[in-house]
Structures are given as C-alpha cells and as structure tokens.
C-alpha cells in the first residue's frame, strides 16, 4: 500500500528536494543554505567529517527538525514540520546510528512492528484474534517472512533481539524499516561498528533492497570505500555547508572534499 501522493513518481524523477535549507540551534548553525535532491530509485549518500551536519540533515528530511529557512518538497508537495508517525505514514522509514529496537522482543516481532501502520483492524478484532484480524495478521506475516528470507535471518527469527550480535541487530533494524514499504529509506551509518564481513553483507543487502524493491535510499556513512561502491550520487557536507555534489568519481576528485577530509596546510 502506498501513501496517497499527489502524483506517481517515475524512477529517475526527483522524489525529494531541499532548497536553501538552513537550520540553527540557538547560535549554532547546523546547516546553512543547503540544496540538493534525491531521485526516485537511487542510492544517495550524505558524507562529511564529524559534526558536518549529516544526522541533522537526515532529521530534516524525515521531518523531525523544521529548518528555519528553506523549502522541502517531498513527492511533489511542500512539507512542514511533522511528527515521526506522520513522517512514517508519508512513506519515510529510517534506521538509527545506534540501534533502536525493542530489545526484549524477538526479531520477528520487531519486524512485525514495522507493519503496525498498515494494520487496520481495531482493538476489538485484535483482541478476538480470529476472523478479519487473523487474516490481516497472516497477510502481514507473509510479507515479513519474505523480508526475513531476503535478509537471511531465518535462524534468529524467534531470538530476543537483545541477545543478538550487533551486526544482526542492524539487519533486523533494516528489516523493520523495509516492513514499512517506504518510498524513501534513510540509513544512518548502517555499517558503523561492523567488521569487514558484516560490512560486505550489509552492502549487499542495501544494493539488493534497492534493486529488488526499487526503494530509494539515502544513507550516511563514514566508510569511504562503502560509499563510493554503493551510491549513485554523493553529497558532501562540511560545517553545515554543502561543498560537493555528484557521482562518486566526481566527488572523490573534488579538491574541497579532499581538503575537508585531510585538512589543509595553513
């Protein structure tokens, strides 16, 4: 089920655009005058040194922060500040820098939670656990099982998430985001703290998600190798300003980016 949007957006068209966005917390300028766009079905990376404003950017995109200046257009409509549930309803899903799962619940239940917005039977039917509510549950479970198979986590389906190693928790979190069938998937450092093998697995999953479901993905990442391999286009932030934007090759060769990462001799 897709959230009602004004018009259908084809692959390659602009899904989300930010124009001259500025965000400040008191005197601290987190973002100043940033403009870029995310096209449908692409993998868009947002990179930059520590404190460059990457997570703030993500929070602006999913409506958690309302920028003081600038215009955000999502699916062709200008957007105001939203509560997280409104963002979710609008078709934006995200994972977090530090895993935010229900630690006491099983992997399966966590991913099922991602479907809760799509469940429509009321409290009464849910309580009865038969008839329409059961039918609905079975439909959603099928979808969730497909995700579980997709992410190769069958063996931990019934394991409490808190007992899982970090790499697997990250995968469950991705599963939960996918369960929402988002138009736009925001990944905040999906590979942070992972070893090489886990990173390779996660990279494959990100590519597969993009390929298989056609999901548009915006990701923040520190590992430059990962970013350059995965993304179609990269935007680089430094001190809240956009310093480069383009394909990985263009960005890699950009002098401003090299300076920002390696420092400049004064």
């Amino acid at each position: 089920m897709r959230a009602p949007s004004g018009q259908e957006i084809a692959a390659g068209d602009v899904l989300l655009s930010l124009e001259n966005v500025s965000l400040a917390f008191g005197g601290v300028k987190a973002l100043s005058d940033v403009s870029f766009d995310i096209r449908k079905s692409e993998i868009r990376a947002i990179i930059g040194p520590n404190g460059a404003g990457k997570t703030s950017m993500l929070n602006v995109i999913n409506g958690f922060y309302q920028p003081q200046l600038g215009r955000i257009t999502f699916k062709g409509k200008a957007r105001a500040k939203m509560r997280p549930d409104e963002a979710a309803r609008g078709g934006i899903a995200r994972t977090f820098q530090n895993v935010a799962l229900f630690k006491g619940m099983s992997a399966l239940d966590n991913i099922m939670a991602g479907r809760s917005l799509k469940m429509h039977r009321g409290f009464f039917w849910q309580l009865l656990r038969h008839g329409p509510a059961m039918k609905e549950e079975v439909e959603h479970r099928l979808f969730v099982e497909e995700i579980i198979e997709f992410l190769h986590i069958q063996h931990i389906r019934k394991v409490q998430v808190g007992r899982l190693p970090y790499g697997l928790q990250k995968r469950v979190e991705l599963g939960r985001a996918l369960a929402m069938e988002p138009d736009l998937l925001l990944l905040d450092e999906p590979m942070a703290g992972m070893n090489l093998e886990e990173k390779e697995d996660m990279s494959r999953f990100v590519l597969d998600v993009n390929d298989h479901f056609g999901t548009t993905i915006a990701l923040i990442e520190h590992d430059m190798g990962v970013v350059m391999d995965l993304s179609d286009r990269v935007v680089v932030l430094d001190y809240g300003r956009k310093i480069a934007d383009g394909t990985p090759d263009v960005v890699k060769a950009d002098q401003a980016v090299i300076d920002a990462y390696l420092g400049v001799a004064h």
Binding site: E149, F150, Q154, H155, D211, H212
Partner: protein, 658 residues
C-alpha cells in the same frame, strides 16, 4: 517392497510412480519456507517431476547426458535428480561449498551440459569459470533473487521449467505417453547417479552407480532397519555426499518415507527440533558439536540445574546402556534412570530434536567411546556403520542390540567382506560401483583381480564380537623408528574427544616419537576464556595463550595415560605438541570437503613446524597462505610455541608397585 515380476521397480522414477500410486496422499517431502513447513505428497511430487522432466527435455537434455546439481538440500534440487533420471540423464551432485576451481574441475570432467543450482551465488560461481566448462550451455536455478538481469537464453528458473513442462503435458496427451515410454525404457543397469569422491587422496573421481545396484543396496538396509513410509528424515548433509544420496534419496524412494529439507544451513538445529525425525544420521563431528553446545549451556546454567544435570548424566552413564541393550540392571538403577528420563534425558533429547528418533547412525570417522556412550545412555538408539562411496555407502552396520563403540558392526546383508594379508578391508556388495567415470586405469587399480573392491582402510574382525574394527587408512598406519606401531587416527581421535580440541594431526611414522599439532575449538575454548577472564583479540591470540597451552597439555597427558595403559600403544605416547595459529580449512585444502584432515598436504604446508617438533626447538615461525570464500588469498604469519608432554612408563600400575 513389492517387486512386480512383469514391471520391476529397477529405477528411481519407477519407484516414484509406485509411491504416487500406493501412498499418493502421504507426504514425500517437506521444506521450511517463509517460516512454515510446506509439504508435497508423493502424488504431487510425481506431478512436479513429470513437468520438470518434460521442461528439461525441451531445453535439450537427453538420455545419457549429465546434469550437475549444485546447492543445499532443497526439494527442487532433489526433483532435479528425479527429473534427470526420468529422462535417463545422469545427475552429478557437486559440493555446494566447493570453490570455483574445484567446481570447474568436476563440471568439466563430468561433461555436463546442464546444471541445476540453488541460487545466485552458485550461478555466479559457475559463470565465473564458464571458460573452463565449455560444454555447459544451460543453467536452471531455484532461488530467483538477484537473477532478474541475467541472460534468459542460458538461465531459467526451475519453477518456469516445471510450469512449461506441465503446460505441455496438459496441452498434448502424446507428451505424457512419450514420457511414460521414456520412464519405462529406463534400465536397471543404466547409470543412475555419479558421485564425486571428496578427494581424501588426490583429485576427486566420479563414482558411477547403477540404478538396480543402488536400489538393491537401499532395499537391504531398509529391511535391516525396518524403515517404512511412516518414517521421517531430515536431509541436511551435502547433496553430493554418498550419505545424503543413500540415506535420504535412495532409502526415501525405496521405503517411501518423508524427506524434510531445512530452511537454511543455520537453522538445521531448530528444524530438527520441529520435524522430530525418526531416522537420523549424524557424523561424529556433528554429535560432538551438539554435545559441546549442550555442555557450554549447562556450564552457564544455575547451580541446582547444573547439579541435577551432572547427577543424572552420571546415572545414565552407569545404567543407560545396559537398559538400552536389555541387560540385567539393578532395581535402584532402573528407578533412578526412570526419574532421570523425566527430569533430564527426555527434555534434553527434545532440545536436540532427537525425541522421536528410532534409528540413528553415525559414520565417517571413528567416534570417541565416551561420546558414543553419552548418546546411547540417554536412550538414543545410535549405531555405527562403515562404508564408502564405491560401495554406495553401507558395508557394515550395527544390528539392534549388539552395539560396541569400538566396532563398526558385522557385514551388512549380502555384503561380502574379507581382510587382505596387509590388513586392507576388501568387499563385494550389492551396491558396489561399476567404475570411475572416464578413468579405466583407476577403476582397475581399485579392484583386486578376483573382483573385490579395495577400500584402502586397514581393519580386522574382532574375535569376541565378530564385528569389523577399522584402525586407519592402510597407507597411514606407520611405525616409529624403533618399530613401535603408530596408528595416527587412533591417537587423533582420543584427543578430539576433548571438547576444547577441534582437530588434531599426529606425526610419528619414521620418526623417533609421536608429535601432534592441535586446533582449538573456538566455541569451547572461547567460552572457557570468558569464564576465566582470559582476554583475546583473535583466534590466533587465543590459540597461543599460555593458559590455553596449559589446559591442552593436561589433555595430552591424559591421552598419554590411556595410551600407556595398553602395551601395544604405550610406545606411541605423545612427546611434543603445538597449537596451530589458524583453523584447518577445506578452502585451503587442509581438510577434505567432508572435514577429514589431509595429513600429507598439511605436512608439506607446515614443514617448518614439523621440523621444529622434532629438532627440539621451543618455538617456530610459520607463514601460510589462506583462501577466503570468495577466492581471494591472504597470508597469515605466526610464531608458534612447542611444548613437551610428560611420558609415562608402559605399565603405571606395576611401576608404582615396584
């Protein structure tokens, strides 16, 4: 199994049709998919396989051609075997975890034009070596994920092939008649399957087995173990291994029992528990891993539970086997054992998925007597069998009620076994192979002039029980320079019984004394390290830790004590040992695909370590190349310490008396 005189059931497709008639609505196959056990009855399987066979024929698969089967235990891959056999083509299962070159060797050697594979991983692997397999033209795959953009001229989904075939069968009745003729014209003497040996001794050879011999052998053992269509087995061992083809495919089709396929390799333990098979096979390695994982969890359990467990395991040790064998047992023992069943044994068997097991076998390696006794004492009817690919598995098997951990049982029904003067076991059996594919020289080499097959294993018949005992490979049994008998595997197995030790390689032939290289078990030693505040950053660091060395030294000395107790083996006690810095791995060629150590290869690869073991030095440097799963190579270097273990006099009891 009824054999009708006019139409003998001498091929597997004929057996399939037979079951589809006689047990039409009984489950033939199950597979856990999307979290639910999906089932197919014999009638449904026949429908699918008929469609599949027609589909494959339309793609060009012909009688006598070979088709490779690469992947995990999945219904569609078993159906690929059946469909190929319907057309009179020869399936060639290949180890799914084989690296690309190994795969290329087998595919090329077997002249395959078709391959049925599990998923994108296998497709990519095969495409990466396509140049080395020029005859291969068609690939069919089970799992569609990630394969959308591949060349449809060469690649098809198995589902689509089946659908196309079924449509043809529905549209044109003559196609069905043609297929019936194809099946009927299959002869028992046709090659039914080709299994490549795991290559313990050099490159792998294609063992050709005929349908009537496969069925004859399976019929004997199905009768021997009274297997019926009500039994259930979980197929989790490699498709390319003779054990899986025999135990699940051949026996399943002969007895008509249900074969369940696990959801994935990681979920086997849970699937086992859910399915609750009645026929179970596990190599000693897996039984060992199971026991290790139980022991680790018990060590982490609360004190009263731990006490209860150890107490009743003690009870089981004392009385369990005598009760299982129907020998006289004191009343107190019976009562305690009954209590233990309620409190510990049954719940434990339930956790392990073994509650409903009626017949369980282990084979492949010698099993530690205590490991064997542990499972039997819980009431599990675990037996040993001995066999090899060339015999289509069974040569000997324990009959119910006559079970000894150090024997592999008497000759199976209709099997003729003799011991050659040099100690080699030789046999003639109903299932014996007809030859190695395209290798008449090797075929001749494997046979004696009077038609017996040489196993290459050294053994003898035990005088007391009449059972066969296998000591080692004929060529591996060696002698120390002073003439003492040196059976490497015997020593290795004694050490491997310790949960902390994963793998052992013993050396001593033409040397002055016995020395061993050990591999720690990361699960067991890791858990020990956690409980004892031993900090480590890697496998290598843990393996080299002085406290780990101390612990393994105690194990080695305990083995020396047991070796010293027997006059024959007292001279073969271990004098020096070391712990390897890396795990022995099949990808590096150190183990075979069935996880057996390749002693000669390891000796070459770790030559500096062997030299150091015998020249008295206390440490040595080694750097070895390792191959990662994707085929990339790297180098691991380490400085490995060598320790001395205490030697005991030949008869400790007498020594003390004096």
């Amino acid at each position: 199994m009824p054999i009708m005189a006019d139409r003998p059931l001498n091929t597997f497709p004929k057996l399939l049709i037979h079951h589809a008639k006689v047990h039409a609505s009984r489950p033939a196959m199950r597979h856990k998919d999307l979290g639910i056990w999906q089932s197919w009855t014999w009638a449904e399987v026949l429908e699918k396989v008929r469609g599949y066979a027609v589909g494959l024929h339309r793609l060009g698969l012909k009688r006598g051609e070979t088709i490779a089967i690469v992947g995990a235990n999945r219904p569609k891959l078993y159906w690929s075997v059946m469909a190929a056999q319907m057309l009179g083509a020869i399936p060639v299962p290949v180890y799914a975890d084989a690296v690309a070159e190994e795969l290329a060797y087998v595919l090329d050697h077997a002249d395959v034009r078709f391959a049925a594979v599990e998923d994108q991983e296998q497709v990519d692997k095969i495409l990466s070596v396509a140049a080395k397999v020029p005859k291969l033209t068609h690939l069919v795959y089970d799992e569609k994920r990630g394969l959308r953009d591949y060349d449809p001229a060469r690649l098809r989904a198995i589902d689509d092939v089946i659908a196309a075939g079924r449509k043809a069968l529905v549209d044109d009745p003559s196609v069905g008649r043609w297929l019936d003729d194809e099946i009927a014209s299959g002869k028992g003497s046709d090659p039914s399957i080709m299994l490549y040996t795991s290559g313990t001794t050099g490159t792998s050879k294609g063992v050709v087995l005929t349908a009537e011999r496969c069925i004859a052998a399976a019929t004997d053992t199905v009768t021997f173990d009274k297997l019926t269509e009500r039994d259930v087995a979980l197929a989790y061992l490699p498709l390319a291994w003779v054990g899986d083809h025999y135990l699940n495919y051949a026996q399943g089709l002969v007895a008509g029992f249900c074969t369940a396929c696990p959801e994935s390799a990681e979920t086997v333990m849970q699937d086992l528990r859910e399915i609750g098979p009645s026929f179970y096979f596990a190599p000693p390695r897996i039984l060992e891993q199971l026991l290790t994982s139980v022991m680790i969890r018990i060590e982490d359990a609360a004190r009263p539970k731990r006490w209860l467990f150890h107490y009743f395991i003690g009870v089981a040790r004392r009385y369990g086997e005598t009760i299982l064998n129907g020998e006289p047992t004191p009343l107190k023992g019976r009562l305690l054992y009954a209590l233990g069943r309620i409190l510990i044994y049954e719940p434990l068997k339930n956790v392990l998925g073994l509650s409903r097991v009626r017949v369980a076998y282990t084979a492949g390696e010698a099993i530690g007597p205590e490991l064997f006794a542990f499972y039997r004492s819980l009431g599990l009817n675990l037996k040993q069998l001995y066999g090899q690919t060339e015999a289509f598995l069974y040569l000997t098997a324990h009959p119910d009620g006559a079970i000894y951990s150090d024997t592999v049982g008497p000759a199976a029904p209709n099997v003729d076994i003799r011991i050659a003067p040099d100690g080699e076991v030789q046999f003639k059996s109903p299932g014996m192979f007809t030859g190695y594919f395209k290798d008449a020289a090797k075929t001749a080499e494997a046979h004696t002039p009077d038609g017996y097959v040489k196993t290459g294993d050294a053994g003898f018949f035990d005088e007391k029980t009449g059972h066969l005992k296998i000591i080692d490979r004929v060529k591996d049994v060696g002698r120390l320079t002073d003439g003492t008998l040196f059976p490497p595997k015997y020593i290795e197995n004694k050490l491997k019984f310790f949960p902390n030790i994963r793998e052992v390689v013993a050396y001593g032939d033409h040397h002055d004394f016995v020395a061993v290289m050990l591999n720690i078990d990361l699960t067991a030693v890791g858990s020990w390290a956690e409980r004892n505040n031993v900090v480590y950053g890697s496998y290598q660091e843990l393996a080299g830790h002085p406290l780990v060395y101390d612990m393994l030294q105690r194990h080695v000395e305990e083995v020396n004590r047991s070796l010293a107790a027997d006059k024959m083996t007292a001279g073969a006690q271990i004098k020096r040992f070391l712990i390897l810095h890396k795990e022995l791995d099949a990808d590096d060629g150190e183990l075979t695909r069935t996880q057996k150590v390749r002693r000669g290869f390891i000796a070459e690869r770790y030559a500096p370590l062997i030299t150091a073991l015998y020249d008295g030095s206390t440490e040595a440097d080694i750097s070895t190349q390792v191959t990662f799963e994707d085929g990339r190579k790297g180098v691991i270097s380490a400085r490995v310490k060598i320790r001395e273990a205490a030697w005991l006099p030949a008869s400790p009891a007498m020594g003390q008396a004096a």
